[in-house]
């Protein structure tokens, strides 16, 4: 029996490995190469998170907490005002200061400044720097969580939601088909679903937000009639963070589509208190800064449930999911959207496969024609290389994009380079009169430094692309890098092993085996 050498053994193992892990991809079983959105069709969204809004909301909810606490303890406060990241109020009786301080201790992450006046104390409360950073970071994380659970609730296959950079979120949705689906999903993702309840101020008449602020009020537009403005008392009564459930149904009297929501115990207590104290007044239900409705409070509402009437069942469905899976802590804006139809994806696959196969055939024939038997050995290495790229990508669960396909096509052209260099070196040594055996060994040895240096520089470029590239380009850099590494294994080690095996078998080799004139 002829002696196997370690190079050949590694090459054979690599080939088996390559084939074994390539087959599942073609049968559609795991582990398989995932197709990028540009190849299978789907939608790719980049969302920006306005995290400074989360800070604003935090201040707002602290303000309503202070209002609630002081009402409960009979501390009289006035001039409660909020700005972007701070709030201030006046404690009417300065003797109440110790009680107020004790109440404020329950609120974390704030800095308190007290300015004593004659009778009263002015409190200035700001968020600490750490709280602001943390609030912003949490806003992104929570936004990702929220969007993910919303998409899950919508029942989409394999949605991917990931953070990009400091304040961006990438959402990838394969297999979305209809326009309607796309629009619903965009609405679902981007609606903040920030539910707020305010008491309506019917005592004052104002025309602009500045005047409204004088009475401690804000102005928000009506949902159905954006020109109609509502005057609402701040701070708000409660917000959607206290919602535990939201379902779609129809109102009893008018049979309009509506969302029925349930509040947690804390929310229910506040809701009960406020409705009890304000019978006969209007309570505005605000979602994402639009007033949906403002029913008059008939009686104290215990049990902590309420309803929001909406225009259509579709809208009710989306809003209910959004409310259920929690509101976005900060609004998101759509920065980038790419959607590819499945037919275009299939076209791209077909076209790039044609390019890959025809390029492959040309290279294989060319190598065999130019280098004869030795060229065929290089071709075997090339085939293994392609299997290895597919196998490694499948194992890592990498995504194949259209530029990635281009990268593979390019690899076919470039990976034979190592064999070209080696063969030229072997020919040189044969020409110098060396025996075939010595020429082969010498050829591999001489070629090594050039192959290594040139491959490593290409690898550096691929790494730079991977580090700073986005989306589909990352896929290109990845296939390039895998291709380079795989080609070092197949084109250098593999072909060398085959030659050693052939030499050990004492097969008769002539310069013709290397495509040289005899």
């Amino acid at each position: 029996m002829k002696k196997l050498n370690y190079r050949l053994v590694i090459f054979i193992l690599a080939t088996i490995f390559g084939i074994a892990f390539t087959i599942p991809s073609f049968l559609g079983k795991n582990p398989k190469v995932n197709l990028g959105l540009d190849l299978q069709g789907g939608m790719y969204l980049v969302l920006g998170v306005k995290s400074e809004e989360a800070v604003k909301n935090k201040i707002k909810s602290i303000a309503s907490a202070i209002k609630y606490l002081s009402d409960k303890k009979d501390l009289f406060i006035d001039k409660l005002k909020t700005s972007n990241n701070a709030l201030s109020f006046e404690l009417i009786d300065k003797d109440d200061a110790p009680k107020m301080d004790a109440a404020l201790k329950k609120i974390r992450g704030i800095e308190i400044k007290k300015i004593p006046e004659k009778e009263s104390v002015i409190y200035k409360i700001a968020l600490t720097k750490e709280t602001i950073t943390k609030t912003k970071e949490d806003a992104i994380k929570q936004a990702i969580q929220t969007i993910r659970s919303r998409l899950d609730a919508f029942g989409l296959a394999e949605p991917s939601v990931t953070q990009q950079g400091k304040d961006k979120i990438v959402v990838e949705l394969p297999g979305i088909k209809t326009q309607k689906e796309k629009n619903n999903i965009k609405k679902l993702i981007s609606s903040a679903a920030h539910l707020e309840l305010y008491l309506v101020d019917n005592e004052h008449r104002v025309t602009n937000p500045k005047d409204a602020a004088k009475y401690g009020d804000i102005m928000l537009p009506d949902k159905n009639n954006p020109k109609r403005m509502w005057l609402l008392k701040t701070p708000l009564v409660l917000d959607g963070s206290m919602i535990t459930d939201a379902t779609v149904g129809f109102t009893q009297k008018t049979n309009q589509p509506a969302i029925f929501f349930t509040l947690n115990s804390q929310g229910a207590a506040i809701f009960g208190d406020v409705t009890g104290k304000n019978v006969g007044k209007q309570l505005a239900i605000v979602v994402d800064n639009k007033v949906y409705s403002a029913p008059t409070i008939q009686e104290r509402i215990g049990g902590g449930s309420g309803q929001i009437t909406v225009g259509s069942t579709d809208e009710a469905h989306i809003l209910a999911i959004a409310l259920r899976s929690g509101s976005l802590p900060a609004p998101v804006v759509l920065l980038e959207q790419r959607s590819v139809g499945a037919s275009l994806g299939a076209d791209s696959i077909r076209k790039s496969m044609i390019a890959l196969i025809s390029g492959f055939i040309i290279v294989v024939i060319f190598m065999a024609w130019y280098y004869g038997f030795s060229g065929i050995i290089a071709d075997i290495a090339l085939v293994t290389n392609l299997f290895l790229i597919t196998a490694v990508m499948a194992l890592f669960g990498a995504t194949l994009t259209l530029p990635g396909m281009a990268g593979i096509v390019l690899t076919v052209g470039m990976s034979v380079d190592a064999n070209v260099i080696i063969n030229e070196r072997i020919r040189e040594l044969i020409r110098e009169g060396k025996s075939i055996k010595l020429a082969i060994e010498g050829g591999y040895k001489n070629a090594m430094s050039a192959i290594l240096d040139s491959n490593i520089t290409t690898l550096i470029a691929a790494i730079a692309l991977f580090a700073y590239g986005t989306g589909t380009i990352k896929g290109f850099a990845l296939t390039m890098a895998i291709g380079i590494l795989a080609s070092m294994l197949t084109a250098i080690l593999g072909t060398h092993g085959i030659w050693q095996y052939i030499i050990a078998g004492n097969k008769k080799l002539t310069p013709k085996s290397f495509g040289m004139k005899a």
């Binding site: 096509v409 052209g413 040139s454 290409t458 986005t470």
Partner: protein, 323 residues
């Protein structure tokens, strides 16, 4: 099969001034094109909207334009690869800055009267994202160049590093010039192509430099031009062959790969030609201009060799128990 007469040494260096002049002219033209003609920036970098639609049968562009202008002003409408494949471009601002608008169905509604139509692709990129993508692209380029410089300086010496990076800039500038001149759309794929091209161009140059390094020790030739001639001639067959195989596959991608990937394959096709040219005719003469001295380098290599041998000797003595 053998393409080049193997033992012949071509005298490339005697004509080096001609080649450099050609290159300088091409670089000047490229820069002029970049300045005066500019680039056809795709929406990846400048932001904007692209809607690709496919009609069952070809429809006159003017009809499409008429329909589209009912709702959107200033849209550019072109065929995309095939006659029935249409690309509609708009700027983000023109569509009231509202990226969330239901564009696909809007366009479909407008075009349906003209015949059966499918929306193939809708890309919307906000202008802020565009500039960020561009910044990242530039970062990638700079990072790659620095990494390569360090590696080559470490493996060879600084003049080799500088010469290879200059050759690389030469290739990049001329390829970008072609992209500008032929009005090829610059998108993220083109950026990837440029980076690949950098790797490729270097690949070629380094194989030649590797041979020069080898000749410095092995050859008896004393003067640099002859030595370079020898090295370039001996690697000529390889340079041309690898370029050919890569050129073949890129041509298939260019011809059959479809319209979307065409800017990428175009850039690489130009890059392969320029890169091959520069590694044969430009990179090595740069060594001469940079004042590379064979004797100094030979001494350095020999010193290195000597140190290595001494180390070996020491180790042997140590193992032999002499020290």
């Amino acid at each position: 099969m053998e393409l080049f007469s193997q033992n012949k040494i071509y005298n490339f260096m005697s004509k080096r001034n001609i080649f450099i002049s050609i290159s300088l002219t091409l670089i000047a033209l490229s820069i002029a094109s970049m300045i005066f003609k500019g680039f056809n920036w795709g929406i990846d970098f400048k932001g904007g909207i692209e809607v690709q639609v496919q009609f069952q049968k070809p429809v006159p562009i003017s009809d499409i334009r008429k329909q589209i202008s009912k709702k959107f002003n200033g849209a550019s409408i072109t065929t995309f690869g095939k006659k029935n494949e249409i690309l509609i471009r708009m700027s983000v601002n023109k569509v009231s800055g509202d990226v969330q608008k239901d564009l696909g169905s809007e366009v479909k509604k407008l075009l349906s009267p003209l015949g059966s139509v499918t929306i193939r692709r809708v890309d919307i990129v906000g202008s802020k994202v565009g500039s960020e993508l561009r910044d990242n692209g530039i970062k990638a380029l700079v990072f790659a160049i620095i990494g390569i410089l360090i590696y080559v300086a470490f493996r060879f010496e600084w003049r080799f590093a500088l010469a290879s990076v200059l050759a690389l800039c030469h290739d990049t500038i001329i390829s970008l010039g072609a992209v500008s001149f032929f009005h090829v759309e610059v998108n993220l794929d083109v950026l990837a192509a440029i980076l690949t091209l950098m790797g490729y161009s270097l690949n070629d140059t380094i194989v030649v430099f590797d041979r020069i390094r080898e000749q410095i020790i092995g050859s008896k030739v004393k003067d640099l031009p002859s030595l370079i001639n020898e090295a370039v001639s001996k690697t000529l067959s390889r340079t041309v062959l690898t370029s050919l195989t890569t050129f073949f596959v890129m041509s298939t991608l260019f011809l059959f790969g479809g319209e979307i990937i065409r800017p990428f394959s175009f850039t690489l096709l130009v890059g392969i030609i320029v890169g091959t040219y520069s590694s044969i005719f430009i990179a090595s003469p740069l060594l001469i201009w940079l004042g590379f001295k064979i004797d100094d380098y030979r001494k350095k290599l020999l010193d290195k060799e000597k140190r290595k041998r001494e180390k070996e000797k020491m180790r042997q003595m140590y193992q032999g128990g002499v020290v």
